[in-house]
């Protein structure tokens, strides 16, 4: 019966028929947060076409326009909706350029730690024995080191190794590695636990009996079945990674001010907090909050939907 359905329905109709879709349209939080995220993703990745200003083209900047307040205030200018920073850069454009960097770093870091963590956790759960013990103790050790400290350490070592000329170019990769390396134990733990459950099921034994290789069993048969919890922590991990990136940039060890991310913008604006130019730090900060909050809400909804035990 199921097979017949699959053949007659195309993928869109299949999606529309699914539990997930049903739960999605029933959840206003999920809809609102994903719409916000879609807008942010679109504006960030197509920022060149969305914003009228390129804040990194010195020819278009005028220092005399620096510290212009948001357009709705008394001294605001219509062309700078959210005002300008201390160099006369349009805040809105700068924020969108910055959020692109934050998103790239966040996504890359979470994919990096997902691949690393899932490979280790899956193999550990599947093979067991001493290998499993070593991997799991490794995650325990990793979990005792706070992720910001870990990222600071990696960045510090990278600064020692990489020459200064290279550092600015390499900064973004160092950051991805630093955040990724501090987040992988979550994935390793969850995927190991899920694998332990899955590997005793009949389909795994069956494949094993007919001689399917271990690698194929793990990645073709078990992996799709443990994807749900991984996707949930992946989504929440994305928000954490973006915040970690901002924290590191705020501390001055992240991306350089020449290509500011959200954290760098907040740090630069921090200098003007006392002098009343609140918009320079406020808007990047509020943008970061909205971004991380939306991702978290979406993650929460995914957890509720994908976890069969939470279903009513």
């Amino acid at each position: 019966m199921l097979q017949v359905d699959n053949k007659t329905l195309n993928s869109w109709e299949r999606l529309r028929d699914s539990d997930i879709y049903f739960s999605f349209i029933k959840s206003p939080t999920a809809i609102v947060s994903s719409v916000i995220l879609l807008i942010i993703f679109f504006c960030s990745f197509f920022v060149e076409f969305v914003t009228p200003h390129n804040p990194f083209d010195p020819a278009s900047l005028s220092l005399m326009e620096a510290f212009t307040p948001p357009s709705w205030t008394e001294d605001g200018m219509a062309k700078f909706i959210l005002g300008t920073d201390g160099q006369g850069r349009d805040m809105l454009s700068t924020i969108l350029y910055g959020s692109r960097i934050s998103l790239i770093v966040g996504f890359s870091a979470i994919i990096f730690s997902l691949i690393l963590g899932v490979s280790l956790g899956l193999t550990a759960g599947y093979f067991g024995g001493k290998y499993e013990m070593i991997v799991m103790r490794l995650t325990d050790v990793q979990l005792t080191v706070p992720s910001i400290l870990m990222a600071l350490l990696v960045d510090g070592i990278a600064r020692g190794i990489i020459s200064r000329e290279m550092h600015d170019e390499m900064a973004i990769y160092v950051l991805i590695f630093a955040i990724g390396i501090s987040e992988w134990p979550q994935f390793a733990r969850v995927s190991r636990a899920a694998t332990l459950v899955e590997k005793n099921k009949d389909y795994v034994s069956a494949s094993s009996i007919i001689g399917v290789s271990n690698l194929l069993i793990m990645f073709k048969h078990i992996l799709p079945n443990i994807m749900r919890p991984i996707l949930v922590i992946g989504t929440i991990g994305l928000a954490l990674a973006i915040i970690a990136e901002s924290t590191l940039s705020f501390l001055g060890v992240g991306v350089p001010p020449t290509t500011p991310s959200l954290g760098t913008l907040i740090r630069l604006g921090n200098d003007f907090l006392f002098s009343g130019e609140w918009w320079i730090t406020f808007f990047p900060a509020i943008f970061l909050v909205i971004l991380a909050f939306s991702i978290n809400l979406l993650g929460d909804w995914m957890r509720d939907t994908l976890n069969p035990r939470l279903k009513k």
């Binding site: 220092l63 005399m64 200098d271 003007f272 907090l273 006392f274």
Partner: protein, 520 residues
């Protein structure tokens, strides 16, 4: 019985409170950077001297009004134009209790003349120092030196015995990255001694009980220097009462601090000019893309000059607290005139044309090196300059770093294009020429060389006829101004912010003198 005990305890507690209140008062002082080294001869840099000045003293010194006053020398006379005899103050003790004598003075002046000393140019005209008796020193110069006293006011006197005991007889080689005992310890005749030194974190100065002079306010017992690099954090620390004095209050926060009922702000024109230097000697820019050195051409230097909108920097970056400069010296220095201080007009079109005429119609790439914790809004000024030069096609890559690295790498000839600020402690133009323009001078990193200017510098050093000497200064300024060897930016205005109950007189060289500090 119980009641008696209670009374005792009550009086004990009362005594503790009363005594601590009236005797132990501390001033917590903050600025963005720290002293680079405690060795008084190793680094000629503002904050370094500011710290050394609390611990060490010189033969003569500048008072609150910046005039020369006796310090370790009580009086002096010139026996002939090349010979000075100084009578030393008797009864002066170092903070370890040993007497200060002529031996220490001779030792210190010779120490400051060593090749590793950063003050050797300061006193290059001193040819010999002799001890006549325990309290008389004779200083000989190679030629008549009208500004010897000005120069000696920055040569700090160390203890010969202490230096020998701790292996500090040679000035620390700061440029070479040497670490010495004298770089982390200080022992002088001044009003304070350093009891704790954590570079870039905390330095504790305690009263030197052996000091010969008298404090304005005897209740001041300690100074804590707490450098805070981030300007917002520094202001927050001041407003929350964590520090009492900030000697480089950020210009953007002066209004906020002034509005506080417990704080006040004082500003004064500082004796310091901020400028950009361009290496004109290298055949090829280290960070360039044209394969040659565009800075060799005056047209290029002028194009950069005219592309900088200094009024915009004054208004937006400095919030009005700067004075645009035409030369690297400021009102009050011998040789300064308002006429010299006029700038070339800001003119982007003219700059573009000059650049095209010089053969760089598309501009070129260069790296601008800046400190980020030395001058008022240094990094922000550099960022603004990067944007302005971008408009004429010069693609500038900004490299801002902490001052200790910035200065060190500058001395290692690593910079093509850099920011520097210059104060003139001697209040005479000679100091500027001797360090910034003389062929091969230690801070002449633009590698300017002009025989006429070099000759004029010799005149400044040896000419006692003031009219002739001033004519030489005026001529030298005209030559270097026409050549556009540097890009002058502005004279700095400094602002000190204090708690209302703390009074530390502001001085145009930005040096607090805590012996004149008092509590209200």
């Amino acid at each position: 019985m119980k009641f008696k005990n209670f009374i005792k305890i009550f009086f004990a507690i009362l005594f503790v409170f009363v005594s601590t209140h009236s005797y132990a008062k501390t001033i917590k002082w903050s600025m963005q950077g720290d002293s680079l080294t405690l060795d008084p001869h190793a680094q000629n840099e503002g904050p370094t001297t500011q710290v050394s000045r609390q611990v060490y003293e010189a033969l003569v010194t500048r008072g609150l009004d910046m005039s020369i006053e006796p310090q370790l020398a009580t009086d002096w006379k010139t026996t002939d134009p090349n010979t000075w005899v100084f009578n030393l103050r008797k009864g002066v003790k170092f903070s370890d209790g040993t007497d200060m004598t002529a031996k220490d003075v001779v030792f210190s002046i010779l120490r400051a003349k060593q090749p590793t000393s950063d003050f050797k140019e300061y006193i290059s005209t001193i040819s010999d120092v002799k001890e006549i008796d325990n309290y008389t020193v004779q200083v000989s110069t190679s030629k008549p030196n009208p500004i010897l006293l000005n120069q000696l006011s920055n040569i700090f006197i160390m203890s010969k015995k202490w230096s020998i005991d701790f292996g500090a007889t040679v000035s620390q080689n700061w440029d070479g990255g040497e670490e010495t005992f004298s770089a982390t310890n200080a022992m002088g005749t001044g009003p304070f001694k350093i009891t704790l030194r954590e570079p870039n974190t905390k330095t504790v100065f305690e009263r030197n009980s052996n000091w010969w002079g008298s404090m304005k306010d005897n209740s001041l017992s300690e100074i804590h220097l707490l450098p805070i690099k981030n300007s917002a954090t520094r202001v927050a620390a001041l407003l929350s009462g964590e520090v009492d004095l900030v000697t480089d209050a950020p210009v953007q926060d002066l209004a906020r601090i002034g509005n506080s009922a417990d704080h006040e702000v004082v500003s004064t024109a500082q004796m310091r000019t901020i400028f950009l230097g361009m290496d004109q000697a290298a055949d090829k820019l280290r960070s360039g893309n044209t394969g040659d050195n565009p800075f060799k051409k005056k047209e290029v230097r002028q194009a950069l000059y005219q592309a900088i909108d200094i009024e915009a920097i004054k208004k937006k970056v400095m919030r009005g607290l700067s004075e645009p400069a035409g030369i690297i010296t400021f009102p009050g220095v011998n040789g300064y005139t308002q006429d010299l201080d006029k700038r070339l007009p800001y003119d982007v079109d003219a700059a573009k044309k000059l650049l095209a005429d010089a053969g760089y119609p598309k501009g070129f790439d260069v790296e601008l090196r800046c400190p980020n914790d030395r001058y008022v809004n240094d990094e922000a000024i550099c960022t603004a300059v990067v944007g302005m030069l971008g408009k004429i096609g010069v693609n500038v890559n900004l490299f801002a770093q902490t001052k200790s690295k910035h200065f060190k790498e500058l001395k290692e000839d690593k910079g093509d294009f850099y920011m520097l600020g210059w104060g003139v402690p001697t209040l005479d133009s000679h100091y500027v020429f001797h360090y910034l323009y003389e062929s091969g001078a230690s801070w002449n990193k633009v590698n300017f060389s002009n025989s006429e200017v070099d000759a004029a510098i010799r005149v400044m050093e040896g000419e006692v006829d003031l009219d002739k000497r001033n004519a030489a200064i005026a001529n030298a300024w005209k030559i270097v101004k026409d050549d556009i060897s540097y890009l002058p930016l502005h004279h700095q205005v400094i602002s000190w912010a204090t708690k209302k109950n703390v009074d530390v007189p502001i001085r145009p060289n930005n040096e607090p003198l805590f012996r004149f500090a008092s509590f209200k």
